[in-house]
C-alpha cells in the first residue's frame, strides 16, 4: 500500500513539475503576476511529493519488502539497518530518485528563500528548474521505475554489493548529488538570465551562494568517496582517474571556476558572458557524469546500469538541456555588455587566469576520459588512458594554479602593481622554497614530486597567512580588525589554505609511500620502515551477514607498541563475494595500512603493509576547502541581501 502511494506521489510530482515548467514561464513572458506566482507553491508541492515517494521506497527497504523487484535485487533481511537505509540509493533506480529529490529540494529552496529575487527572474528560474525535474522524472517513470512489483516474491533478497556495505555509502552519494544537482541552480539562473537578456551585479550575487553551496557539497562528496576507496579497496589508492571519478571531478573544477568568475560579475560587472557559459557547462558536465555512470559507455568500477535504452534517454536529456542552453547563449550572449574597466595587471586578470587554468584542466580530464571511445570509434584503436596520462597532463595546470594563487589574491581590483603584490610575499616564498629544498635534500635521489608538492603547499598556506595579515594593515587595533574581517575573507583564506594542504598531502603520499609484501608467521616480528609489526593471531569471526578472517597485528616503534591492528578478509555468502577490510593506524604524519591475505602453503599468512606519509592531509585539506565555502556562505552580505534591497532608492549624500 505504501509502495503504491509512493508510486502515485511520483506520478503526481511529474504532473506538478509539468505545470511548474509551463505556467510561470508563460506568465513571465506575458507579464501576468498570477501565473508567475504558481511557481512557488508548485515547487514546494513537487518537493513534498517526491520526498513522500522517496520515503515510501526507503520504507520498503527498511521493512525488507521483497515484493519489490528493487529490494529483492539490492537487499537482504540480515543486512544491518544502516545499510538497509543507505541501500535505498545504492542502486540505479533509487539513486535516480534521490537525484530528482534533490533537484526538487533546490527548486523549493529557491522558492522559499528567493524572496529577494525580481518576480520575473524567480518565475523563470523555477520554471527551468522544473524542466530539469520533468526530464528526470520522466526518465525514472519510463525507464527506471523503482516501484515495480514481483510476480512471486521470494523469501529473501540477493543482498547489496558488499563493497557498498559501508558507512561511506550512507554519505558519499547524497553529498555528491547535492553538489551535482546544486549546479542545476546555477544553470537555471543562467538560462533565466539569458531569456531575460540581463546579467548584472545582483545576478552575480544571487547565483554565487548556490554555486558555492554546490561546490562545498561536491568537495565533501568527492573527498568522502576518495577516503572510502582508500580504506575499502585494499591497496590504499585514493584517486584512480576512473571515468566516473573524472565525471565528478570535471563539474568540481568548473564550479570552482564559476565561483571565482561570479565574483568578478558581482564586484566588477565583467566576465558576464563567460560566467553564463561556465554555469551552463558546469551543469552540462554533471549531466555527462550521469550519462557516463548510467549508460555503461565507459567501463568503470562505479557503473550502475549497463542499459543502452537508459543511456540514450540520458543522452537526449543532455542534448536538450546543454544544447538548448548553448543555442540560447549564442543568440543572447551579445546582449550581455561588460561594464568594468580594469588594467592588464589586476585582480580581475588574476581571476581570468584562474578560470583559464581550471577550465583547461577540466578540458584535459574530459579529453582523457573520452579518448578511448573516440579512438575506438574513429581510429579503430583500442587503447587505454590511465593514471600515468592524467598525472602527466593534468598536474602541470594545478602546479601553475598553486604558483599564481597567492600572488593573484594579493592583487587589488582594477589596477595592480606587480611589485606591490609580490613584496609582502617574499618571506613566504623563500620559506616555502627552503622547505621544498629541505625535503629534496632529505629524500635522497627521488623525484621532484614530493618537494614540489611540499613547496606548493607551504607557499599556499603561508601566502594565505600573509594575505590575511595584509588585510589588517599597520598600527594598533589589529586584533579588532581581525575580528571584524568579513567571513567571506576568512572563507577565502581557509579554502585557499586547504587547497595547499591537499596538494602537499597528495604529493607526499605519491612520492614517499613505502610498501612491503611478505609471508608473516604468527609471533615472528618483521620491520617496515622504522616500524616493527608482529602477526599475533588469525581467527575466524562471524559478522551479521558475513564471515571474516581477522588478523591481529601489533604495531611497534622503538620497542613500544603503538597500536593493535585488525585487518579482515570478509566473505559475503549471499552475494558470493569477498572483500578486504584494511586496518589503518592514522596520524598526521603517516598512515600505517595493513592488509591480510591468504594462508600460505608453508604456513604463515600473506601480509601487505604500507606506510603512507601525509595521507590525512588530503582529506583535512578538503575539509578546510569545504569549511572555507561554508564560512563564505555565512557572510553577512548574503544574509542581509534581502533587507538591503528594501532601502529607499535614493541614498542621501554625506
Amino acid at each position: 500500500m505504501i509502495t503504491e502511494l509512493g508510486h502515485f506521489a511520483l506520478v503526481l510530482a511529474f504532473g506538478v513539475a509539468l505545470v511548474q515548467m509551463v505556467v510561470p514561464m508563460w506568465g513571465a513572458w506575458r507579464g501576468r503576476a498570477g501565473l508567475m506566482a504558481v511557481a512557488e507553491p508548485a515547487a514546494a508541492a513537487q518537493f513534498i511529493l517526491i520526498a513522500l515517494s522517496f520515503g515510501a521506497l526507503m520504507w520498503a527497504f527498511v521493512t525488507s519488502d521483497f515484493s519489490l523487484q528493487l529490494v529483492v535485487a539490492n537487499s537482504h533481511s540480515a543486512k544491518p539497518m544502516l545499510y538497509k537505509i543507505s541501500g535505498t540509493w545504492g542502486n540505479h533506480e533509487g539513486s535516480m530518485l534521490l537525484w530528482v529529490l534533490i533537484v526538487a529540494l533546490f527548486g523549493a529552496m529557491a522558492a522559499w528563500f528567493g524572496g529577494n529575487l525580481p518576480p520575473r527572474l524567480r518565475a523563470r528560474v523555477l520554471s527551468v528548474q522544473a524542466a530539469i525535474g520533468v526530464a528526470f522524472l520522466a526518465f525514472i517513470l519510463f525507464t527506471s521505475n523503482p516501484f515495480l512489483r514481483m510476480g512471486t516474491p521470494p523469501f529473501d533478497g540477493q543482498d547489496l554489493n558488499p563493497l557498498l556495505q559501508d558507512p561511506g555509502l550512507a554519505f558519499h552519494p547524497p553529498f555528491l548529488y547535492l553538489g551535482y544537482v546544486g549546479l542545476s541552480m546555477a544553470f537555471s539562473f543562467a538560462v533565466a538570465a539569458l531569456i531575460e537578456g540581463r546579467v548584472d551585479a545582483a545576478w552575480g550575487r544571487w547565483v554565487r551562494p548556490w554555486t558555492l553551496a554546490a561546490w562545498v557539497f561536491l568537495t565533501i562528496g568527492i573527498a568522502l568517496g576518495s577516503w572510502w576507496a582508500y580504506y575499502e579497496l585494499g591497496w590504499g589508492g585514493f584517486w584512480f582517474w576512473d571515468p566516473v571519478e573524472n565525471a565528478s571531478f570535471m563539474p568540481w573544477l568548473l564550479a570552482a571556476a564559476l565561483l571565482h568568475s561570479a565574483i568578478v560579475v558581482e564586484k566588477r560587472e565583467s566576465l558576464k558572458s563567460w560566467t553564463i557559459l561556465l554555469a551552463i557547462l558546469a551543469f552540462g558536465f554533471s549531466l555527462i557524469g550521469t550519462f557516463i555512470v548510467r549508460s555503461g559507455l565507459l567501463t568503470s568500477v562505479h557503473a550502475f546500469a549497463n542499459d543502452p535504452e537508459r543511456g540514450v534517454f540520458i543522452l537526449a536529456i543532455l542534448g536538450v538541456f546543454t544544447g538548448g542552453a548553448l543555442v540560447l547563449y549564442s543568440l543572447r550572449a551579445s546582449a550581455l555588455e561588460a561594464k568594468g574597466v580594469f588594467g592588464l595587471l589586476s585582480r580581475e586578470t588574476a581571476l581570468v587566469v584562474n578560470n583559464l587554468l581550471l577550465a583547461v584542466a577540466c578540458f584535459v580530464v574530459f579529453v582523457g576520459t573520452m579518448w578511448p571511445l573516440v579512438a575506438e570509434m574513429f581510429l579503430d584503436r583500442k587503447l587505454s588512458v590511465g593514471p600515468p596520462f592524467f598525472n602527466a597532463a593534468f598536474t602541470p595546470f594545478m602546479v601553475a594554479l598553486g604558483l599564481i594563487l597567492p600572488i593573484g589574491s594579493a592583487m587589488p581590483w582594477k589596477r595592480a602593481k606587480i611589485m606591490r603584490a609580490l613584496y609582502p610575499l617574499r618571506y613566504a616564498f623563500l620559506l616555502a622554497l627552503a622547505l621544498g629544498g629541505l625535503a629534496f635534500a632529505m629524500q635522497a635521489g627521488r623525484g621532484l614530486l614530493g618537494p614540489v608538492g611540499l613547496f606548493l603547499g607551504a607557499w599556499l598556506v603561508m601566502g594565505t597567512v600573509v594575505d590575511v595579515m595584509q588585510r589588517l594593515g599597520r598600527g594598533p587595533g589589529k586584533l579588532r580588525r581581525l575580528r571584524r574581517l568579513p567571513r567571506a575573507d576568512w572563507g577565502k583564506a581557509t579554502a585557499h589554505g586547504g587547497l595547499g594542504v591537499t596538494m602537499a598531502g597528495i604529493a607526499g603520499l605519491m612520492a614517499w609511500a613505502v610498501d612491503d609484501i611478505r609471508v608473516a608467521r604468527i609471533g615472528e616480528p618483521f620491520d617496515v620502515g622504522s616500524y616493527t609489526l608482529t602477526l599475533r593471531d588469525v581467527s575466524e569471526v562471524r559478522g551479521p551477514n558475513y564471515l571474516s578472517t581477522m588478523a591481529e597485528i601489533t604495531l611497534a616503534q622503538d620497542g613500544a607498541v603503538i597500536s593493535t591492528l585488525r585487518p579482515e578478509k570478509r566473505f559475503y555468502p549471499v552475494a558470493q563475494m569477498p572483500t578486504t577490510e584494511a586496518a589503518i593506524d592514522y596520524n598526521l604524519a603517516r598512515d600505517v595500512y595493513v592488509v591480510i591475505g591468504d594462508a600460505q602453503d608453508g604456513g604463515g599468512w600473506a601480509v601487505r603493509t604500507y606506510i603512507k606519509p601525509m595521507t590525512n592531509w588530503i582529506w583535512i585539506g578538503c575539509a578546510l576547502m569545504a569549511l572555507g565555502g561554508v564560512l563564505s556562505l555565512s557572510d553577512r552580505r548574503f544574509r542581509v541581501a534581502a533587507g538591503a534591497r528594501k532601502q529607499p532608492a535614493g541614498v542621501p549624500a554625506e
Binding site: 591497496w235 584512480f240 576512473d242 571515468p243 565583467s270 567501463t299 568503470s300 568500477v301 561588460a338 561594464k339 568594468g340 574597466v341 580594469f342 588594467g343 592588464l344 580581475e348 586578470t349 583559464l356 577550465a359 583547461v360 584542466a361 578540458f363 584535459v364 579529453v367 579518448w371 579512438a375 581510429l379 584503436r381 583500442k382 587503447l383 587505454s384 590511465g386 593514471p387 600515468p388 596520462f389 602527466a392 597532463a393 593534468f394 602541470p396 595546470f397 609484501i517 611478505r518 609471508v519 575466524e540 562471524r542 564471515l547 578472517t549 578478509k569 566473505f571 555468502p573 558470493q576 563475494m577 569477498p578 578486504t580 591475505g597 591468504d598 600460505q600 600473506a606 601487505r608 549624500a653
Partner: protein, 150 residues
C-alpha cells in the same frame, strides 16, 4: 553449515594483488617490475593496473613481466613484449603516436588558444571606455557642485 561456509570462503578468497611468492629476490629488479606493472592494465578488470588487481590474469601478467625482467630485458623490451601479445590496450599510459598526439596536445593547445582569447579580452577591457568614465553631463555637474558645496 558453518564449516561449509568456511570452505566456500577459502575457495572464493580473492587472488590478491601482488602475492609474496611473486616477489623477486633482487630488490632493484622487483622495484622495476612494480613500477612497470603500475602502467599496465588488467585486461579483464575495470580500470585497474595489474599491480592492483586481484584477477588471475593480472597475476599471470605480473609473473610474465617478471620473467622477462629476470631474462635481462630492458623496461621498454619487457613492455613491448606484453604489448605485442595483448595489444595497445594494456598500456595505461597511451603512446604519443599517430592520432594520439591530439590527446597529448589537447591540454597545451587549448591553453594556447584560450590564453590567446583571454589576452585579447583583457586588452579590450584595459582599453575600453565605459559610460561611467564618460564626462559628466551638465546636470550631473550641477548636482555634484551642489553636493560638494553643502
Amino acid at each position: 553449515m558453518k564449516r561449509l561456509l568456511l570452505i566456500l570462503t577459502l575457495l572464493a578468497s580473492p587472488l590478491w594483488a601482488v602475492q609474496p611468492d611473486e616477489v623477486l629476490d633482487d630488490p632493484a629488479l622487483e622495484a622495476r617490475a612494480r613500477e612497470l606493472s603500475q602502467g599496465l592494465r588488467c585486461l579483464v578488470c575495470r580500470n585497474e593496473s595489474i599491480d592492483e588487481s586481484n584477477a588471475s590474469l593480472a597475476r599471470d601478467l605480473r609473473i610474465l613481466l617478471r620473467e622477462r625482467l629476470v631474462a635481462g630485458d630492458s623496461d621498454a623490451e619487457a613492455v613491448d613484449f606484453i604489448v605485442d601479445r595483448y595489444g595497445e590496450y594494456v598500456l595505461l599510459n597511451p603512446q604519443a603516436t599517430g592520432a594520439n598526439w591530439l590527446l597529448w596536445g589537447a591540454g597545451p593547445l587549448m591553453l594556447l588558444l584560450a590564453g590567446g582569447l583571454g589576452v585579447i579580452y583583457l586588452r579590450g577591457r584595459a582599453r575600453s571606455k565605459t559610460p561611467s568614465e564618460a564626462p559628466l553631463s551638465a546636470e550631473e555637474e550641477a548636482r555634484l557642485r551642489d553636493i560638494l558645496d553643502r
